[in-house]
């Protein structure tokens, strides 16, 4: 089985357009953990205590899978993780979750606050609920996926990471984007791609306004392949051909907050 087919087989969500043109989530397969997770309840723990426990977690002796329950919505959840852990967080968590994550594979069952996955350099963060503003900001690598809605400025200054938002996204998505990929599965707000200098936006729905200096490009075969792989990686089943591609008009040009408007 090819890597793509294997990834596609593991897809857990799919886009399905209803009459109202909204996208609903359909779970295809149950969550699979790499091994029996060690559950730890962190109810009442401060962000610093949670960080300390996860940082001191030894994947060799303690097991590589951790299930964190009752996360109690702390802000600044588990920053700077660089162990090859598989973490399953049950509950909502606050702002700046998994800041500078460098290797951990994370699945969050609830919602996350602003700036989840800020400066992600490698690894994987999947949010099954909604994400706040600046989802996946400054990510230089790895994959971030949000199954619900994302707030304003998702993919802010994205610098090589891959961000997937399955539902709607707010204004100024891909603001100051330098490199990487932003996949938007539904409609997006105003000023899409403002200040964008590089990277690629794949948009399936409509935008309220497109920033000056950003334009639509033809969806090539390479785009379709890349998009399919990323969607499959995020556990989303969708037809890549439904997406449109947006990039900065010329490499290095700086888009501004123009309003050329028009929903596609």
């Amino acid at each position: 089985m090819s890597p793509f087919a294997r990834a596609k087989a593991g897809a857990r969500y799919a886009f399905s357009r209803e009459r109202t043109a909204t996208i609903t989530i359909r779970r295809l397969l149950p969550i699979k953990m790499s091994s029996q997770p060690h559950s730890i309840s962190l109810a009442g723990c401060s962000a610093a205590e949670i960080s300390k426990r996860l940082r001191e977690w030894d994947p060799v002796s303690d097991g590589s899978s951790v299930s964190v329950i009752d996360a109690n919505s702390p802000h600044g959840f588990a920053p700077g993780l660089n162990q090859p852990l598989v973490i399953n967080v049950v509950g909502d968590i606050g702002d700046f979750a998994f800041l500078m994550n460098a290797g951990a594979e994370v699945e969050i069952s609830g919602n996350v606050g602003s700036c989840a996955g800020h400066s992600l350099s490698s690894g994987y963060v999947l949010v099954n609920g909604n994400a706040g503003d600046c989802f996946g900001a400054y990510a230089t690598g790895g994959v971030l996926a949000c199954i619900g809605k994302a707030g304003a400025r998702c993919g802010l200054a994205l610098a090589g990471g891959e961000v997937v938002v399955r539902s709607e996204a707010g204004d100024e998505a891909a603001l100051g984007m330098v490199d990487g990929t932003l996949i938007l599965g539904n409609s997006v707000g105003e000023h899409l791609g403002a200040g964008m200098r590089g990277g690629t936006i794949y948009l399936r729905g409509s935008y309220k306004s497109l920033a000056a200096g950003v334009r639509e490009f033809r969806l090539k075969e390479s785009d379709t392949m890349r998009l399919s792989l990323l969607l499959a990686r995020a556990g989303i089943r969708a037809a890549a051909k439904e997406f449109r591609v947006y990039r900065a008009s010329s490499p290095g040009s700086i888009g501004s907050r123009g309003s050329t408007g028009g929903a596609a």
């Binding site: 802000h75 600044g76 700077g80 800041l99 800020h118 350099s121 600046c134 400025r153 200054a157």
Partner: protein
Amino acid sequence: MSASRSILDDVVVTPVALMPGLPAGYSPVMVTAIQIVTPTGRKLQFGAPFFVRGLAESHMRTGWFAVCGILRSAGLPLFATVQELQSVPAANIPARVAQRFLGQPLVHDEVTTADAYELVNCSANGVGWGWPYEIASSRDLKVLVGAIRDATASETPIGLSLPLNVKAADMRTCIESSIDFLTLTHCSESLISAPDKIANLAAHGISSARRLCSQFGRPDLPLLLDAPIFDIDHVIKLLAMGASAINLAAIIQAAMPVEETPRHESKLTDSLLGSLPTAPKVVRELPHVERKLTELIRRLTETLQFTGLVDVADLKSDCLRGLNAVVADQLGIASIAV
């Protein structure tokens, strides 16, 4: 005041009142070091109230190793990236302060290997001051600072950088975010470039910032001043005005020997290798820079002795007098006429 005269030239350092109960002939050891302390008590010690910020390896070229070695032996921190210090011998590597500029990601290795970390609210070329998009309130900044602190296990002091003409609201935001130090920077986009005008700006900026620190409940917050100050007297007066440490990059650059550009031989030679330009020789020692630094520390020690203080931290604005009422009023210090 003439155009070339700085406001700092109209300020003098005076002895403070003698401490009661000090035995006659007591000669305490001068303390010229400062430290930045994290909430968990972890300290970054400066050998003297100076640091070097804005000197890049590419600017210094052949003298980079030597400058790093001087800073290391003097115990002064250097603002640099991991990459800039990669080629420097381990024995020459000073304490390193890493920076994250506006629009840049936080880099895990930079954060976790630095002796201190600074969030700079402007782009790497010194233009475009402002809060990053992800910081909408002081609460956001507090969470970010807390998260970086957790990532470093609270072992790395975390600071922020603001422009010299800092606004009260920005200062309040910084102080509420529980930072460990604040750097006030002369914007390179500023049109002000004359040394006397920079000194004026620095004097007003640092005295105003120190007042705001007291106003917002952090009177002892370490304030690092990053402005191109060349005059040693000005450096000492700025320390008294409230700066905890001063950037020496301008003084070091001024003391650097002029590098000869490698000559490209136009004459054709028999040997191919003979026609290639040779790499510049790496400078191992910089006696001018060392002398300048020694002089600076000597003058600071003399000033402490003159004022009757033992610790540079005690060098405060009450040691200063304005030569006229206008200057005294502007800087919030006493006038010599009083």
